[in-house]
Amino acid sequence: MPRSPRLLAPLALAVLSVLSAPGPATACMNGVERRVDPTNQRIRDAEALLADGKYKAAVREVLEAFPTALRADYRDHRTNLFDRGQRVIALAVVRTKGELKLDRTLQGTTYAERDAGLAWATMILRLHRARGNGGVLLTSELAEALALRPSERPAARLLLKELADGDIMPTARGWAILGMLERDHGDADAAARAVARCKEISPDATQCDIVGNT
């Protein structure tokens, strides 16, 4: 690293130009981006690991792409991918019910740490939703996080019910969670319909049975 201040400015400019200049396929849709942008592929890999239940590996992948992903007050210049990465971490925490170790303060070993982890994850998902990101999928993910907190379950149910009524529930998991919430709400018929819809969509019917285990 040059010590002379006179050399720092052009070097900084050069670095900035590399970081900020649009790549050759800035907006050439997904087919190109996934092949020319390694960060793109890394976040996709993280999402695939999350979907496979490999939560630690998913979080590791995100943190290697974006080491600052645990910070709620920071956004990388690659905001879209950064946000997707944060959501992967948040969902990994939700799906492990806070048991995932994130850092020194969020180790997931005590009740307080698990609760803090879930609070962090819920905050991240709320923040993203408030920004208008993620659309329907993010709504269902937020509902999944809210469903873990007794005081937030009515809100979770309403979010998912709106998606269900419009036939725009993005995942089978969303139907399963709605089934659980409807059951807790006392509407057995609605719960049965939601679980049936989950089983209709998902080849892995055990995913729909999380209703009974939560």
Binding site: P22, G23, P24, A25, T26, A27, C28, M29, N30, G31, V32, E33, R34, R35, V36, N40, I43, R44, T79, N80, L81, D83, R84, G135, V136, L137, G166, D167, I168, M169, P170, T171, A172, R197, E200, I201, S202, P203
Partner: protein, 413 residues
């Protein structure tokens, strides 16, 4: 019995034209050339409005042309594809090799240069109701979301000047017909509805690549009489590159009288009424199980996601069908994943709605859009339903059947 009197000279004089009139055409003649008033200069306000619309409708994402700010490669559908096919797109070689196998559309699009030769009225009508002007090009002009007056304004911007008068004596259509064959015009052009013409060797040597490109872009001569200004047609036939730099139409050696003859036949040939194909009917659902992976491979990933992408994985641009573009508002429809497909799109009221929601006749919305594209290609566009994929070859009926089956089976993963 007294001998019959010979027919009078006046009556005999009528026989040749009468025979000619009876001999022309093999069926109902669609068009009789008529005197069309010359177009005056366009209203300057219309021209200005049209120029703004050229930007709003992002014509430069496909077309190059005079007065159009070129779109950068990452937003230029045709340049992007051409770059991949040429092998100079900045991507790993294995990616390039893979993409080259799949690119079939948007490799050739006519440039909007030399548009002064067009009739403004035709341009406006074409924008309102695009039809298959270039039968050998698998991409067509999309149906744009035009408001009242937009088509006229765009036409004014593309053809702002007054139409010049056509001087000189009319040509001989019979000699013109013969020239179409002798000069090899039918090597590239079709002339739908005209009496059959032999394909002669092209008068000019073209390499194979240029020949292929020229054939793809050559318009159906059926439309020339409505499409080109008469004086411009003559000038064009005499020297196409002088009027549209970069045109694939070669300069054919023609004397001035041959130009007139050729033009006379092109605009005056009797035309049989065009065939009106019947839009194909929806196939019944299959009886075997269909999963998302199959539907995704055959339809969504094959075609749809180029315009309906996930913006997060495309640096914020999910394509015209998601974030908006080509004059369309963002409908937020992401067809790049099952979750995206299931999440629906924004309706005109700004609220999310399912793409599987049935229309009044029970057809799922997405199926209706795919069938509407078949109807458009058959010349029967539905004014209330835009055919998808936009401007591209319709999704085969068997693939629509697959999607239909998947929907009927509950859209399993």
């Amino acid at each position: 019995m007294p001998p019959r009197a010979a027919p009078s000279r006046d009556l005999r004089a009528l026989v040749p034209p009468l025979l000619l009139a009876l001999a022309c055409g093999t069926g109902p003649s669609e068009h009789v050339p008529k005197d069309i008033p010359r177009e005056p200069a366009a209203d300057p306000q219309q021209v200005e409005r049209g120029r703004a619309l050229l930007g709003r409708f992002e014509c430069a994402r496909c077309h190059d042309g005079d007065g159009l700010t070129p779109a950068p490669r990452e937003r230029h559908c045709v340049h992007c594809h051409q770059s991949v096919l040429a092998g100079d797109f900045p991507a790993p070689p294995d990616a390039i090799a893979e993409w080259q196998q799949h690119i079939t559309h948007l490799t050739e699009v006519p440039a909007l240069r030399g548009t002064q030769r067009l009739r403004r009225e035709f341009v406006a009508a074409f924008l309102r109701d695009p039809h298959d002007l270039r039968p050998r090009l698998n991409t067509s002009m999309p149906r744009l979301r035009l408001a009242d007056g937009d088509a006229e304004a765009l036409a004014a911007a593309l053809v702002p000047d007054a139409e010049p008068a056509l001087d000189g004596a009319p040509g001989d259509p019979d000699r013109g017909r013969d020239l179409l064959t002798r000069k090899g015009c039918m090597t590239c052009h079709v002339f739908t509805g005209a009496p059959a013409l032999a394909i002669g060797p092209l008068d000019v040597a073209l390499d194979a690549t240029t020949m292929q490109r020229a054939t793809a872009q050559a318009p159906d001569l059926r439309f020339t009489r409505d499409r080109l200004r008469p004086a411009a047609l003559h000038a064009w036939l005499a020297d196409p590159p002088a009027h549209k730099p970069g045109t694939l139409m070669p300069r054919i050696s023609l004397r001035p009288d041959e130009v007139r003859d050729l033009a006379a036949y092109i605009v005056g040939a009797p035309l049989a009424a065009p065939e009106r194909p019947v839009p194909p009917a929806r196939l019944p659902p299959l009886t075997r199980p269909v999963r998302f992976a199959e539907v995704d491979a055959r339809i969504f990933h094959k075609t749809c996601w180029h315009c309906h992408s996930d913006p997060d994985y495309a640096r914020g641009d999910g394509g015209p069908g998601n974030d908006g573009g080509l004059g369309y508002p963002g409908r937020r429809l992401d067809l790049s994943s099952l979750a995206g497909v299931a999440s629906g799109s924004l309706g005109p009221d700004g609220k999310r709605r399912s793409i599987f929601a049935p229309l009044p006749d029970g057809t799922p919305r997405i199926i209706a859009h795919l069938l509407a594209r078949h109807a458009e290609v058959a010349g029967q566009p539905d004014p209330d339903l835009r055919g998808m994929p936009l401007a591209l070859t319709p999704v085969p009926l068997e693939d629509i059947q697959l999607l239909d089956t998947w929907i009927a089976q509950g859209r399993p993963e």
